[in-house]
Amino acid sequence: MTKAVVNVPSPRPHVFAILTDYPRYKEWVPGCESSAIIGKSGEATDAQIVITGMKRMELGLRFESQGTQSINFRMISGKDLKAYTGSYRLMDSADGKGTVLVAELDVDVGGMVPKFMVDRFIGKSFDETGKALTAYAKKMPVQAEAPARGPVAAAKPRRAKRVLQIVKTAGGYNVWLLGEAFAVKR
């Protein structure tokens, strides 16, 4: 399983809308020649995708989404690969300004292709797709304005962190500085 994290400076509903607009994948997914919906049932959508990477591949993929939080996908037809499964998990960024996308992909190409080569290719593909998604999300108008969010990290106050403490005692001063204690005698 290869993983990647992409920081997209666009609201989560916008990024989710792009990722689930399967017929338009050819507009932004690097190497995507065509993409068409061939079936739909509830939250599951089947799409036929032709993609050119190490070689030209035709895949039938089933996408299943949950809210605007995740999209799982797996290969349901195709002769070029033995298995192709993965997911996108979308999270609101901690600074409240965008979306953090966690992508996972597992590919079994079969045959004698070493796994490290496949993983390297997937890693490169994630980089390119992440850049393409960021650029496309910026270019496309945001359909539904997301409600304003504050930074997630600011929701909980941080515990006070002591820096310095000086205590006067009968014998002098006790000084505590960033975790270290010193005694200053009269």
């Binding site: 993983k3 953090v100 204690a181």
Partner: protein, 185 residues
Amino acid sequence: MGVLTFSTHATRRFSAEPQLVYEILIDYDGYAEWAPLVTKSKLLAKEGELAIAEFELVHKKAGKVTVEAIHGKNRLVLTRVISGKVPVFQWEWTIAAADKNECDVTLSIEGNKDWNWLAGGYGDFMSPKFGLDRLQSELAVFQPELAIADAQGEKILELSETDEGLVCWLRGKKYIFNPATEGKS
């Protein structure tokens, strides 16, 4: 563990509540202040028990290290590397309550066995004992009362970093300082 990977762990008892240890471990913005070799740290996203964070290390060739962390309230912080050229792929912190205001913390580290990493100055990064040392230092910053028996004397001066700003107590009076705007005196 395979022949190309290693697993090592260490346990230490701390004079601290499990909650304080847990709060330090899930404060990803604060890792740069104590975690070995980390120079910059930033929480990217957090939802429920999952967090995504990004670190920069002393070693520039490591690039940005992105991790995912799974939390178990006050008990567990499991951090896995998603991207970045580092010899470790997982840190697991487990916190077990011991006596009153004490807890046992175990740090388990798993990574790639390659002596080049040690030669490259990653030794501290791969050492659970060193990780626990640094955590202990950070805990001390939140617990000056352990080092100073202030009941035996008069507290003259105390400085603390808080959400309000830098809070100063001087002879019983409270003062709050905020960062000066850049370029202004």
